[in-house]
């Protein structure tokens, strides 16, 4: 494996493999609501983050993850601040930069009461790391990263390069033993099997969401029917009321 690091530097399955090992240990000792200390993932690969975004002080970058139940979401991040003296961004992650993370579950439908609450609020230090979150319920999770000014530099507005990468790991993948197979066929078959399990998990989730969609459509059609009937009834009764009222009024005024 080490020999082909150059080829597979940004391969997703290998990244998820290193996260699977993290996930297994985490799964075994998980405690609800425990703040996760940062994990620098450097097992098989050097941090191979390549996609970045520019972020300024007090700016928020929000990402939405739509996952089935029992999924481990991992965000690998790295922050390189702008150095005014060098007039360029730092080569290495800036150690004294401050980043705040807010994880919130978004409402699935308008009537969903269990979501909208803040699930996690965490300060991210040391300029780089991996944040992991175990999503027990299915749905959409909003991850917001907010850059705060460094200590002692509250009035300075700085920009930084924010490297970000996200991986998802479904529950089926954890229980599977990841073997370092020498045989290429077995390796590719294992890889295909992992992908099939991923597709299976996702499809089960989408089936549930389609069910929600159908229920909303059915509710809309019911509402259209009953509110339409109510409106028609209101029109008829108002008309009758008006006619009766005006008739009695004109009769009392001796106009008819």
């Amino acid at each position: 494996f080490k020999a082909v690091d150059g080829f597979v530097a940004s391969d997703r399955s290998l990244r998820s493999r290193s996260h699977a090992e993290h996930g297994k240990q985490w799964y075994q000792r998980r405690v609800r609501g425990l703040l996760i200390a940062l994990q620098i993932s450097c097992l098989l690969l050097t941090p191979s983050l390549s996609l970045y975004n520019r972020i300024s002080t007090w700016e928020r970058r929000c990402f939405i993850e739509d996952v089935p139940d029992n999924t481990m979401i991992s965000f690998k991040w790295s922050l390189h601040a702008y150095d005014f003296e060098k007039d360029d961004y730092d080569e290495e992650p800036t150690k004294d930069s401050k980043l705040y993370l807010f994880i919130k579950k978004l409402k699935m439908t308008k009537t969903d009461t269990s979501s909208g609450m803040l699930r996690r609020e965490q300060e991210l230090k040391n300029g780089q790391g991996t944040v992991q979150f175990y999503a027990e319920e299915f749905g959409e999770y909003e991850w917001c990263f907010e850059m705060h000014p460094n200590v002692g530099q509250e009035w300075e507005m700085t920009t930084a390069k924010f490297y970000i990468d996200v991986t998802r790991q479904y529950q089926d993948e954890e229980k599977e033993k990841i073997e370092d197979a020498q045989d290429a066929i077995i390796h590719s078959l294992q890889r295909n099997l992992r992908k099939v399990k991923q597709i299976k998990t996702e499809q089960r989730y989408y089936k549930g969401r389609e069910h929600t969609f159908r229920e909303i459509s059915y509710l809309t059609s019911t509402r259209v029917l009953w509110y339409g009937a109510l409106t028609a009834l209101t029109v008829i009764s108002c008309g009758c009321f008006m006619m009766k009222n005006m008739k009695s009024f004109f009769i009392s005024k001796k106009l008819v």
Partner: protein
């Protein structure tokens, strides 16, 4: 070992980065990615919530040449092969929108030259290294990749559809209630106005000419 390496080279060289992010009104967000020379990539994006579900997108090469520019698109795919190595930038702009904040999904698929087993038919060394079993495993992998892709599209379209359905459901209720109340108010108002017209002048308190 060589077969294994070749196999891994074929499977392992491509990667994809997919993300869903939110974009506030009047905001522009740019993503940068360092790419090698002669590398194939494809960028796919889709707006999954907000306003008219449209966004501006543009992509620039390292020497600031515009590779792709589209305005107010709901979804699109852009394939390109890089001519030079360097940092490529793609930006999503919501500047035209006054109060709608959007959620955009994008998928940057980086493929490498050596993954094209079909395109390299003339390359005898690669063809003989793989047995039928290996090539069918590769074919399965490619099909699965497509399945994941289609499933993802389906998920995004379902999400858009569901959001419109929810919006419709609420709107139906609000407007129906509003309409009913309006009908009642108009009915009472009409009766009141008509009755007022027939009031005697003395009751109105105006001057009566005798």
């Amino acid at each position: 070992m060589l077969t294994y390496l070749v196999f891994l080279a074929l499977f392992g060289a491509s990667s994809s980065i997919e993300m869903t992010f939110t974009l506030q009104e009047h905001e522009v967000q740019c993503f940068h990615e360092v790419l090698k020379k002669d590398q194939k990539f494809s960028l796919e994006y889709q707006v999954i919530s907000g306003g008219h579900f449209d966004i501006d997108c543009n992509m620039m090469s390292p020497n600031s040449k515009t590779l792709y520019k589209e305005t107010r698109k709901q979804y699109d795919t852009f394939h390109h092969r890089t001519v030079e190595a360097g940092e490529y930038t793609f930006c999503f702009s919501n500047e035209f929108s006054t109060f709608a904040h959007k959620t955009v999904y994008f998928d940057l698929d980086l493929g490498d030259d050596s993954t094209d087993i079909g395109a390299e038919e003339g390359d005898g060394a690669h063809a003989t290294a793989l047995t039928q079993l290996e090539s069918s495993a590769y074919a399965i992998h490619e099909s699965l990749r497509l399945v994941v892709d289609y499933q993802n599209h389906h998920r995004l379209k379902e999400r858009i559809g569901r959001e419109i359905a929810e919006y419709l459901c609420e709107r139906v209720q609000n407007w129906s209630i509003g309409q009913t109340v309006l009908i009642v108010v108009v009915a009472f108002g009409q009766v009141f106005m008509l009755r007022k017209l027939f009031d005697k002048p003395a009751n109105r308190g105006g001057k009566v000419g005798i």
